[in-house]
Amino acid sequence: MVVAQRAPSWLRASALVQRIGSVALFVAVWQVAASAAGSRMFPTAGAVFAALVRECVDGPLLFHLGVTLARVAAAFVIAMAVGSAIGIVMGRSRTIDVLFDSWLVLLLNLPALVIIVLAYVWFGLTEAAAIGAVAVNKIPAVAVTLREGARALDRRYAEMADSFRIGRWRTLRHVVLPQLYPYLFAAARSGLALVWKIVLIVELLGRSDGVGFQIQVFFQLFDVTRILAYAIAFAAVIQVIEWAMFQPLERRAGRWRH
């Protein structure tokens, strides 16, 4: 059934070709423009890829990338768990929603930089402060999305679960969560996009390892080539996570839709 839903294979192949073509065009334009500029501040695509390979093989890129990814993962998991819990509670209880809605709005509008600086001032330049600051940046957005989802829960299914007395755990797992999946995926996607950007700032301001820290080092050396090499490596890994994890999960959760 899923097979029937997919676009025909020639169309998918051509979509892939188009994408590769688009990327190739970008690299070509970059290469030509950088060659024409001939400046150390604007390295060619070739130079950046060479630096990328060198940093992977002989340099510390993989170590720093690993450290940063671990922070992304920790902050992401915390933000999703806490944000979902807050959102679901607010979506189900009018009283709590009214009480804390302004808090949420305030937190949503607090600039990421302010949260990070305050976290470091109050809790020191620690790993916990760094990860906590990233998570706090993301929690309100997750909460708002999941609150929407919790408000949209269909009462008729809850009544069914209730009348058959299937219990809290089964109700949560089979009745509530499936209705929240679209909201969870939306929150997770935008969450990853935000978290991996803020993690770099947190590292730049208060950690002594990670991609953000390295970029600060290269910034002081005006080493644009390696700044771009690190940036590309990191962005590529995040894109792979999106493709390899989120999209298959989302397809799996949506397989009942025909």
Binding site: S163, I166, H174, P178
Partner: protein, 253 residues
Amino acid sequence: MPALSAEIREKRYKGTGAAPPRVALAGLSLEVAAGEFVALVGPSGCGKTTFLNIVAGLDRQFAGAVRIAARPDGAPARVGYVFQEPRLLPWRTVAENIALVLEPQRSAVVDEVLDVVGLAGAGDLYPAQLSLGMSRRVAIARAFAIEPDVLLMDEPFVSLDHDTVEQLRHVLLELWRARPTTVLFVTHDLREALFLADRLLLLSASPGHVVAEVPVRLARTQRGNSAEIESLRDEILRHHRQLIGAAAAVPVG
């Protein structure tokens, strides 16, 4: 002791916004014996669904009492509910929908009940792949699967074509004969009630209460003969004019 007794002194809906408060049920009391098939017949909006929700324990905001006899072993009675819409979880397969309401060790029952309602082999389909008639069969199978002590049915055959309704009524009676249980069946269709039930309870217009009781003494094997049903129906309508609205509503419903 009856399997089910209910005495609703009053069920009132709070007004919301422009809607004024409304009394949905007032002085509705009834008793159903173990194994009895009782049909509640009344005009649309007389509070039939409200009453079933109260019996099912979904609505506790009412004045009165509902008692359902415990099982012989002392365990609380099991209540099965066939809602007006099938209410199958669209993200679970047919078999998963039924297994969901069973204890895990009884999951073998799933294939059994699907077989009885004529849906053997449909367990792996998702509800979106079923017609409304098939979905209704699954909802009925699900309710019987828990071996209910009391089975509540809320107009489970509306919005179906005539032939499908006929089939489903027979499926229901077969199931009920094979797995006897106490049934409270809500409908606005007098013919349907006369075809299925041991006893009819006629409800007034809102606020609903029981205005009359009609035992159906006709053996179920005789009820295929529609002349008998028709004469019973005419007689009831002569005495209870408020049901004429309900009878007129049948083709629409």
